[in-house]
Symmetry: C2
């Protein structure tokens, strides 16, 4: 992995990554925004749920589905019309979101009737490729491995910042999940707390680990390995529809052995994880011969400086479709009660995905 | 409140409610489904989140946006083409969902690699009015009071069933939240456990109550009462955009004094709660001069037979829009992390709703 770091004219950070050494000497980091960063997001405490909500009012002005010629994630061809990214021989780029929900510069907000706090943290954009018409699953395996290394690098760097307790790389893909830019990209949120869902997962995993001296996901994977829901079974990594899927085409991708975080992956594990990831992405797009929208989230250990032997790095994919025509809406029972109702069996959905043939050499 | 109970030809229950006495003698309960109920939903345990998910494979066949002439929630005019409801002088009707995610008849499922269980519980449909073109907010106040009484009646009856620990009345309104039938109706889910979200709310409320000897929502309301986010302030009930809103147009409706459940409302409280509810619904539809979609959920005490002085009956509304054109999508940070990011301030959204004038006499 090769890396070069820059500062944009508006003060934001840009990091370019390459499989090969970067010729970064003459690169200048562009920004489509001439004015310096403004906005001051803040957190408010939800007393009924004991969780923080972040408020960033300026986000309503963010770039929304621009025509292709205004793609801010394309490389800058004309310096008088700068995008977010420079031309060059980079493969993956990371930069600070211009409209962050969390920022290291956040200040103490005014007092409210509930506790408030600076929205401390960081929101980064990860551009997976220079090719606006590509997709994560269309990238060659060594390019996907680089993406895994980028997530490792950013998790380490962000986790080292005092006050950052959790780093979540994710991708929202498709207009159906609210994506405003179609250039292949994901995001990284660095949180000042372990957020509610990973916090619950960590607590449950810790209790399980203390009782069994093994990981809850590790033990589940060992049971899934020979079951009817496997999509990819490599030497080091797996992909499967979990027995307890909450979305019809939910898929999990994980190293077989528990690995706390991206940075702890061995080269062999990373290579096989890239195969598992690419398999899933190709099966998704092969399912209905069109790009399947999804939310992809990567769970790993908190960056709170403590050991987390209970953690097991893995991705969860939530595609929003039930059938080619019907969306899975989260409504009363899911959103208000947190009790998911599924109208498809994971075994059936796994069978559909198993039947999609894919080639990793693509 | 007047009530008459029937059994449909396929074994499902139907209950008609009226503000005035019902002439139910000659009513026969229809069903559009000639065959008896089938399907056997089951629960699976999610080991990473410690929660149940329910699987009801037959739900994919459910009625989906039929043309108006096939509205199953209209009254039956031609007995050879039965709907779900009989003609008659009823105001509100409740019947068992034909495609339930939870049912009292659920049997023990086969063994899986995670714990499984019968999907014990009940899913009911609440038809708010005979008028397919009306809306909850368009109903006269005494009709809305009847709806509150119906929710009380069903909560008591369902809560009395051994093994039912929580009753959640809710309404999904609008195609944007996945509604398949536009006739004004809501649903009631009776759960075999206290589901994850109410369970967390109960736990937090209990800890607060033990520390302060007052309710967490009660104390929040007392602080909101003179604040900038109030939408309705009556003698017994309020409606407001909460300081910690997670959705741009989120609104809460509650009695001012803590009331554990619908059945504990006094007549005066219920009347004022109907005013608060109608105010919110009319403001929602007045906002952009079109029906605003929303999820409405009513939280109340668990029906586990224990006292719950920490509980405070209230509704939470989650409209899915950020602006007249833009939906609020739940994506990476909300769904995967449980950390909500808002791009609007509750004070701004409250101001918009405050400016909508409504008349409760409508």
């Amino acid at each position: 992995m090769h890396r070069a770091t820059f500062t944009k004219p508006d003060g934001r950070e840009l990091i370019l990554y390459g499989r090969k050494a970067l010729s970064a000497a003459k690169v200048e980091a562009p920004s489509p925004f001439p004015d310096p960063l403004h906005g001051n997001p803040h957190l408010r405490w939800h007393p009924l749920l004991s969780e923080w909500i972040t408020y960033a009012a300026y986000r309503q002005d963010r770039t929304f589905l621009p025509p292709p010629e205004y793609n801010p994630l394309a490389v800058t061809l004309d310096p008088t019309h700068p995008t977010e990214l420079p031309a060059g021989d980079w493969d993956v780029a990371v930069f600070d979101n211009r409209f962050p929900s969390l920022t290291l510069r956040s200040k103490q907000p005014p007092e409210l009737i509930v506790p408030s706090a600076p929205a401390f943290g960081k929101c980064e954009v990860v551009v997976f490729t220079q090719d606006a018409r590509s997709a994560l699953g269309a990238l060659p395996l060594d390019h996907l491995e680089l993406v895994l290394e980028v997530w490792a690098d950013r998790t380490e760097k962000l986790g080292d910042v005092a006050g950052i307790d959790y780093v979540l790389p994710f991708e929202n893909r498709g207009a159906e999940v609210g994506v405003t830019l179609h250039h292949p990209h994901g995001q990284i949120y660095a949180y000042p707390v372990v957020p509610p869902v990973p916090a619950r997962m960590q607590q449950i995993a810790l209790e399980y680990y203390e009782a069994h001296r093994s990981g809850v996901l590790q033990d589940l994977i060992s049971k899934e390995l020979n079951g009817p829901r496997m999509l990819y079974r490599g030497q080091h990594a797996v992909a499967f529809v979990p027995v307890c899927a909450r979305y019809p085409y939910e898929v999990w991708v994980a190293p077989i052995a528990p690995v706390e975080s991206f940075a702890d992956l061995s080269g062999n594990q990373r290579a096989d994880l890239a195969c598992a990831l690419k398999t899933v992405l190709l099966k998704f797009d092969g399912l209905w011969k069109r790009p399947l929208p999804y939310l992809m989230a990567w769970y790993q250990a908190p960056t709170d400086g403590k050991p987390h032997p209970e953690s097991h790095l893995h991705a969860e994919f939530y595609p929003p479709y039930r059938t080619p025509e019907k969306l899975k809406y989260l409504a009363g029972t899911e959103l208000a009660a947190g009790f998911f109702a599924m109208d498809a069996l994971p075994e059936e959905k796994a069978r559909e995905l198993q039947q999609i043939q894919v080639s990793l050499d693509a």
